[in-house]
Amino acid sequence: MTRRVRIWIFLPALAGLAALLVWGYLGIPGFGDYHGPYGFVLDRLATPLRHMDNVVNATTYDIRGFDTLGEEFILFAAVIGVVMLLRDTDEKPEMRDEVESDLVRVFGTLAVGGAILVGLWLVAFGFVTPGGGFQGGVAIAGGAALVYLVAGYRAFAAFGDEQVLDPIKGVGAGGYVVIGLAALVSGLPYLTNLFSGGAVGTVWSGGSAGFVNWAAGMEVAAANLILYAEFLNQYIVPIARRS
């Protein structure tokens, strides 16, 4: 089948899909008129029961924590797939430091510290203000990725060492499961929140979901850093081989 034929077969199908989508979307409640009973109940119960101000994260890490466990393992499996595809070489190239500007070093170091600090803050206050393990984890990994731009490959390789990252990622994913099992051991359903949590609006609010949040943060940060390190190796190794 040639490319042209394929596109001509596809276009009517696409028009059909578009018509179906429009027809289907006409049947859902008008924009702004939906009042989901689940969200309504969560809004009124999450803060008194779980001591969390941020109902979105109360849903993500506590009330629907089981769904998030599934998401975590999609992430886990995808990263393992990437590593298996890309990690075909053991050579760790010795690269010359390419960054020569002092200005980049000074401001870059500040940016790295700032990004990692913001990431930690996002994870820590996930139940109070917008944030949480997923967003904070990506921010921490992004800050560490900046190290490559600021200080070159050698400094980044210290951050992106798989012997350090793999256990962190494993502990993050395993910790999530274990916190859930702890509830089972106490005779409660899987991933039930074990303590009522500290004062509302503090870092301590959230009970055992706080640990779930930190486990997610650890796993997301480590998984993203592993991705960055593997991709960066793809870029660096051929250059080093040629020179």
């Binding site: 941020n54 917008p130 944030g131 997923f134 967003q135 990506v138 991705l227 960066l232 793809q234 051929p238």
Partner: protein, 88 residues
């Protein structure tokens, strides 16, 4: 508050509707990832207007760091291999 929100929503939605085809039609991956960054930032804006700061934070960290990083390296890798072949 609501009166000002609705025009803002229309503007953000229009930007999303325009930038999505712009990303797809920028056939060169390098140009595409730059337009994609812009599209991501418009989504961030729209999610804030929708009252979803958590989601917009998620989109923000992903579209500014994670996507460009891995896509740029993939582009560079493909180009480097083409260069190696021409050397031979």
């Amino acid at each position: 508050m609501i009166a000002t929100l609705v025009p803002l929503q229309s503007v953000a939605l229009a930007l999303v509707a325009l930038l999505a085809p712009a990303v797809v039609l920028a056939r060169d991956p390098l140009r595409m990832i730059i337009v994609n960054g812009l599209y991501g930032l418009v989504l961030v804006l729209l999610f804030v207007i929708y009252g979803a700061p958590d989601v917009s934070l998620s989109m923000l960290v992903v579209s500014t760091v994670a996507y460009p990083f891995i896509v740029l390296i993939a582009i560079a890798r493909v180009r480097a291999r083409r260069g190696e072949k021409e050397d031979e």
